[in-house]
Structures are given as structure tokens and as C-alpha cells.
Symmetry: C2
Subunit: 267 residues, 2 copies
């Protein structure tokens, strides 16, 4: 079993990714795909007159400010346009995909944060009407049911809170929880960079291997969204996943090349 | 087994509908829900600068003009915002719902129309870039798999064509095909009218009962979108469904009242 996360960043050719994912799945490799949709969500949110806002937590992590309207826009883009577009592409390439948000069948369940401590203009503030949280429980029964019957699950945030509210969760960290819960051997995180770079954005400074035990030391190289990928990798390894690979989604056969060890391999 | 279609028209309180659907499902009644989203799709399409367009076929049926951009907006609203909103409400009321577009697992598969003959400004025209069609095949295996494991399937257009393209299909007629394929005893069609009215929109002219064999005679009373509901009813009855009810979605306990015979009962 492998879990593949594909980012929602600019420059990713989802058709190429889906062709490769379908080929790997059809070869008999049990596989769960999880995807994002940040870039397009920002565009649609602007068009709908509710521009995106990002907040920085006191620990320095940047997240999308998610009021209820933002959550609905996210559902439109993530669970609507992008998820159905991916499922359509996978169908075209012969994989019988089933797209599920985390709400469906409570596939991704977790705790909604009561309050988020952020830094704004140098001052500490508390947000209370934010619909964000972290995945703590995976409906492995439903995922096994689909996989055992030949379906390729394609997961996407939002998740559902224990109190039955849709909540925004980080896709990379959600993929890590899914990989751990499903006992996956590998978690492949594809995005619009070739892996972890020592000197971002200089792609010639790609770090090719990180020993799992030393991952913490490499957090210093993680910029912006890469921080959550490193956190996700760390959580997946702690959860029993044998190998995590950060790899480039923009190339030909991105999944097969990541499985062959291209990118940043952490094990 | 019952199939319930709830419309996407103005004035429908989906929370009330979902509370009732969840209660019926939890009482042990196997149930599939199918929904629309016309009203909100029109609003979002306007906001995104791609206003809705409707075309009238040579046989007098009004349909949404569905170019690829419209289809993507439909996916955002139908499969994203509304489907996930309904699944969240059903979860809140204790039913473990799983939302699926027709593309997911090829639940609703059909033929894309090569060309649509329409009447525009009194002249006949042919549309060739329209992504519409009709459902001809239902993945009953996936629906039974979900139902047998305690999940409530919540279906929504688009469907998928035999050539793997997302296609817009009419929700009422899709519900009829699902009801026939699943061997449902009843198809309940909830919308923002109390049923078929002899003199639309005068609600006091509600037709309370139509003998199945005489349904064709009643097509004369069907205005606008009601035409497709009558066509759907006719197709469901021909497909072995014992009873079809057109009922009001805007009232308290709409499903239980429809099951008790309120609305227009066709059998």
C-alpha cells in the first residue's frame, strides 16, 4: 500500500500525474491518492469577492484563514472542481476512482481547534471562528472496502470534526495520518518543487537523502509550505511508514520516478 | 429500498430535508438520496462571469447549456458546496452519508449527446460542444456495497460518458434510472412545489393521485422543470418502480409526509 499526496500548487499538470497514478494502480499496487487545491482556491475566492487570507501561528506556521464562507469556497474548488477533474482523468486512464472529501463516510475525522493563536502585525491575537483542525481518525474500514473492490480512493479536505462540522485540515499532514492508519509502506508527496532544497529556490541544492532519525535537523531548510511537508513526513515515520519521498509533480511519470528514489528520500 | 430526489430550487430548507432523510434512514429503511443545485449554480455562474444559459430542444424541453466551463462550475456547486453541505448535515443527524458524483466509481454512466437540436429565436440550430447526456447504466455494485455497510449514498450529477467525459444529466431522470436499477419500491421527488398542479402556480389545484397507466394524459399540466419530473416518473414506473410521489420539500418532515401519501401519488 502506498499513499500519494499531490499538491495544489501552480505548474502541476494533473493529467500527467493522473496518467502515472492510474498506471501504477492498474499494475496491482494498492494506492490512495490525496490532493490539494490551494492555488485554484485562491483564484476562485478572489473572483467570488472573498479573497484569501493567511495567518501565521505563534509557532511560525502559515495557514489559510477559514471562516465558513472560505470553507464553502474550498469545498467548491477542492471537493468539486479539482476532485471531480482528477477522478475524471483517472477514469480516462483506466482506474476506477472514487473521490471522497473527509466528510464523506467520516473518512478524515478530527478535532476542530477551539482557538488559534496567531501573530498579526507583530501582536498576538486569538481567532475563534476558524474552521480548522487536525485529522486524528481515519475510516480505514471504508478505504479498505473500496480498495478491496477495485476502487481507487481519491481523498481531499475538508475533514469532519467530532462535532460534525466541516473543518479545513492540512493535506500533507492528513496524508501522513492516512498512511499511518492504513499501514502504508510509503508516503509520496508530489509538489511543484523537486524535493527539499538546501537553498530554496535553487533546485541544484536538492537534498537527496535524509536518514529518518535525523529529519528534525533538516527542518531549518523547510520554507513556507515545505514546513508542513516535513512535519507530515515526521508524523508518518513515527506512525510506522517506512519511507517518505518528496518529489516533483511537474515531470513525466512523477510517481514512478519518486518510487524509484528521485527527489528527497527519507527513510 | 427507496430513492429520494431533492431539487435544487429556491426556498428549499436542506437542513429540514436532511434531518428527515437521516431519521428515515436510521429507522432501517435502505435509501439513496440524489440532489440538484440549479438555483445556486446560476448564482455562482453569474458571480464567476459565466452566466447561465438555457436552451429549448425542438421537443420543447428546457436544459442548461453546458459548455466545459459550465460543467466545471456545476461540479463546484453540485458536487462541491451542495453535496458536501448535505453530507455534513446528514452526518450531524446521525446518518453516515457518502457523497458521490456520477463520475465517482462510474456510478452514473451514460451517453453524451453528439448534437442537440434546439430552437433559438424561432430558428432550428445544432449544438455540438455541449456536455450533456442521459444516464443509461448505474453502478449498482458500488451502491449496494455502501448500503450493505451502513452508508447512505448521496448522488449528484454530473455523470460520466462511455468515453470518460463528465456530462450534465437531468437529476430527476437520473433518479428514475437509479430507482429502476436498484429495484426501489418508491421514488420520491421533493421540490419547491407541493406536486403536480392542474393550474400552476395555484397550489390549491394539486393533483392528488394519478393512475400509472394514465400518466401520459397528465403531461399537459407539467410546466417547465415539472416536465422532466413527469418524464422521470414515467421512466421509473416503466422500470418497475411501484410508486412515484411528487412532494413538497419546503415543509416539516417532507420525506415522511411524502411516504404517507402527501403530494401527487402516481401508482
Amino acid at each position: 500500500m502506498i499513499v500519494v499526496k499531490v499538491g495544489g500548487g501552480q505548474g502541476i499538470d494533473l493529467e500527467r500525474v493522473c496518467e502515472d497514478v492510474a498506471q501504477v494502480f492498474r499494475s496491482g499496487q494498492p494506492l490512495i491518492l490525496l490532493h490539494g487545491g490551494n492555488y485554484e482556491t485562491n483564484q476562485i475566492a478572489e473572483q467570488l469577492g472573498h479573497p484569501p487570507e493567511f495567518v501565521t501561528s505563534v509557532s511560525g506556521i502559515v495557514s489559510r484563514r477559514t471562516d465558513r464562507r472560505t470553507l464553502e469556497i474550498m469545498e467548491m474548488v477542492y471537493a468539486g472542481k479539482i476532485n471531480k477533474g482528477i477522478v475524471e482523468l483517472l477514469q480516462r486512464y483506466g482506474a476506477n476512482a472514487v473521490g471522497l472529501s473527509g466528510i464523506d463516510g467520516r473518512v478524515l475525522e478530527g478535532k476542530r481547534k477551539d482557538a488559534i493563536k496567531i501573530i498579526k502585525d507583530g501582536r498576538r491575537m486569538i481567532l475563534r471562528d476558524d474552521y480548522t483542525g487536525t485529522v486524528q481518525k481515519v475510516n480505514t474500514h471504508l478505504l479498505h472496502l473500496l480498495l478491496d473492490n477495485g476502487y481507487l480512493p481519491v481523498l481531499v479536505p475538508p475533514a469532519i470534526s467530532f462535532e460534525n462540522e466541516a473543518i479545513n485540515v492540512d493535506g500533507d499532514r492528513a496524508a501522513a495520518v492516512v498512511a499511518s492508519a492504513m499501514g502504508a509502506e510509503q508516503l509520496i508527496i508530489l509538489s511543484n518543487v523537486p524535493g527539499l532544497l538546501k537553498d530554496f529556490p535553487d533546485e541544484s541544492t536538492l537534498i537527496r537523502h535524509i536518514p529518518a532519525a535525523r529529519l528534525d535537523e533538516f527542518m531549518q531548510y523547510a520554507d513556507g509550505r515545505m514546513k508542513k511537508k516535513v512535519m507530515g513526513a515526521s508524523e508518518a515515520l513515527a506512525g510506522g511508514v517506512r519511507r517518505v519521498v518528496f518529489a516533483d509533480a511537474r515531470i513525466e511519470r512523477p510517481l514512478q520516478r519518486a518510487l524509484a528514489g528521485e527527489g528527497t528520500v527519507i527513510d
